[in-house]
Amino acid sequence: MLFNTLNFAFFLPVILLLYWFATNRNLKVQNILLLISSYFFYACWDYRFLFLLVFSTALDFFSGVKIYQSQTKNQKRFWLWLSISINLGFLSVFKYYDFFAESFSNLLSAIGIQTNFWTLRLILPVGISFYTFHGLSYIIDVYKNRIKSENNIVDYAVFVSFFPLLVAGPIERATHLLPQIKTQRVFNNSNFIDGLKQILWGLFKKVVIADNCAVFVNMIFDNSSEYSGSTLVLGAVLFAFQIYGDFSGYSDIAQGVARLFGIDLLRNFAFPYFSRDIAEFWRRWHISLSSWFKDYVYIPLGGSKGSKWQQIRNVFIIFLLSGFWHGANYTFIFWGLLHAIYFLPLLLFNRNRNNIETVASNRILPNLREFFQMIYTFGFTTFAWIFFRANNINQAFSYVAVVFSKSLFSVPQIVPKLTLLSLLIFIVIEWNGRRNQYAISDLLVKNSIVLRWSFYYMLVFCILYFSNNHQQFIYFQF
């Protein structure tokens, strides 16, 4: 079930009504309702993979209890690694097996050894990367004594499978979400309204911005050999907005929906295209994944402590893992590698924490220096997106070769005027709201209700008008 479908528009109000009116007096029943609705939500996608989710949940729940109860370090370690191995084992089989089998086979054939490895051609269970990481963070937190193990399997299962975050995050932490699941939720007017507004904005980003860009992005990337360098640059820029609108739109809807249930999810995006360097970009893009890697891989590896070489090694490991997390394709690995290279100068010159505050936080417009910093950061990330979006690494390099040809200075063969205009309006609204959780949270709140509601109706109109062009959420494939 997609957030931007009619089925979800019927599903959500029904669950909300049951949640706030039928089960609101009993937390246990309310959580059972959340669990059933989450499993139903997942089963609508593919009921065959529900068993995998249930198994993963049961495994981590049981392992968590065992780790907590274990008296010795060895016992704790045994349960930790059992859980990690099985979780990553599933992830590897479903997501990476074919990649490794094919890569190994290609390597052997390159040195003259012909092999015939079996490839499984398995369907990737939707959300597997996300719920696996939920489970892993819980297990590691229990092992590290950051939290106690959860004794109520329903509460734990809701933590893993709460439907707004089940298929594409944000990747939650037990320390943040579990206490909310175990506490009676109280209906809050302003929180509810805020949730609705955030859903509306998320839908706008997905349906109007991302899906419209997608039409041209698909056209340009699928026929990249036929277009000029300038058109390919436009294609890359449009993809930068597509993936931002798509994923941050999804995250806004997820956060908004969770708010309707009185639950607060981790923030996943903080206006990343207004970043002044790559380090700031990564503090603002897919925050829940970046912080997951930071907490569970980067810091255990030594983080920014140790020698410069160790720091550089850690940064490369993190970015390569991040690329690999997105999928078994050299395009993602190269994308991660590029970001590691971008990050390197900041690390070497200790400038990776230069830009912590929101850009131009006390001003309407950025100064010239900030403006150019944002432009080149956007340029670098957009360049990396070419590798992320390309069908394979060869296409990516061919794409880049055309970008840096003479045709870069020609007039683009495709100029999607309406899409560019909507992007311009979108950027203005995002800039105006960059100090907030999401761009329209404070927009027009001090103006008359007529003006405010007119704006909301306009958003509704745009969402409905452009909703014919259904595109899958990009991050569902991860």
Binding site: N189, L464, S467, N468
Partner: protein, 309 residues
């Protein structure tokens, strides 16, 4: 909580009002499906020839050039799945039906059920043409609201068209398509390439639709109704972008229908017919008025020739 309920209700009023008006609009304003159903019910005793197929048939076969009483029951993106449902729905109410024509070209035999193209149309077949459509699930919400079946942009476009012209029909009283959209006519080669690419499903598995055609033929045989399968003409440029192996397989399958049903099933292949030039087409694969006239006369002559056998 009371405050928020009132706010949400107030905010929803214009949206619900629009939905209600749209529902009324869709249910009451005549469309291709409703007028075709009405025609076939009102002329059930007169119809001698029925034409089935997708947009190639809708725009390419004009009943006014047929010598027998003919009605074009085809529609845009109509699959063999719906051809069969329509035929079985009406066949026993058409006492004078003598011949049926099915248009089969590149996409028809390999088409799967419930594709994107069917997403709003299946509800229209159910609601306006009184068909029981098995691909619509019992719990499918859209079957209860036509306003929800169409996308909003299309709805707005239809409102504008209705306000401008007073109709949303794309066919004349005989069921022939007379409103082919001529805007966005980019270079014929690009159109041909794009159309060929968009229609390429990569499948050569025809079993599902062969079984349907076998059922159709068997039902027609029982009632001594002759079946003519026609592969409609296409431009050379469009044909050049198609998979030749698949094309060959389609023609072979159509010929087999004829061979397996001697004298009751006939096959007329106009796909690469040299009598048609680029002047006869709106675009890569749809005949224009002139082409439809030419094609209708050829098909009519063929029908007359086989009716005496």
């Amino acid at each position: 909580m009371e405050n928020i309920k009132a706010k949400i209700a107030l905010f929803a009023i214009p949206i619900l009002l629009f939905w209600g008006i749209t529902e009324y609009f869709y249910r009451t304003i005549p469309n291709n499906y409703s007028v075709k159903n009405q025609y076939i019910e009102n002329h059930s005793k007169d119809i001698e020839v029925l034409l089935f197929g997708d947009s190639h048939c809708l725009y390419g076969l004009n009943p006014s050039y047929f010598s027998k009483h003919t009605f074009n029951l085809s529609n845009v993106s109509q699959t063999i799945y719906f051809d069969k449902l329509l035929l079985l729905e009406h066949i026993d109410n058409l006492p004078n039906l003598k011949q049926v024509v099915f248009c089969i070209e590149y996409t028809n035999l390999s088409q799967k059920d419930d594709t994107d193209e069917d997403q709003f149309r299946k509800y229209y077949y159910q609601y306006f043409m009184d068909l029981k459509v098995p691909i619509i699930k019992d719990y499918d919400i859209k079957q209860y609201s036509l306003a929800l079946t169409q996308n909003f942009k299309k709805t707005i476009d239809l409102y504008i068209r209705y306000l401008k012209t007073g109709t949303i029909l794309d066919c004349n009283p005989d069921g022939w398509g007379n409103n082919y959209k001529k805007e966005n006519r980019i270079s014929p080669e690009t159109v041909a390439k794009n159309r060929a690419q968009s229609q390429e499903d990569g499948s050569t598995d025809f079993n599902l639709n062969i079984a349907r055609m076998d059922t159709i033929i068997a039902e027609c045989n029982k009632r001594k109704i002759k079946v003519l399968i026609v592969s409609m003409p296409q431009t050379k440029i469009y044909t050049s972008y198609l998979n030749p192996k698949k094309l060959k397989s389609i023609f072979k399958t159509c010929n087999q229908f004829q061979e397996n049903n001697n004298r009751t099933v006939h096959y007329l292949n106009l796909f690469n017919d040299n009598r048609f030039t680029d002047e006869d087409f709106y675009d890569a694969d749809h005949l224009n008025d002139q082409g439809a006239k030419k094609c209708s006369k050829i098909v009519n002559a063929y029908l007359n020739s086989i009716s005496s056998n």
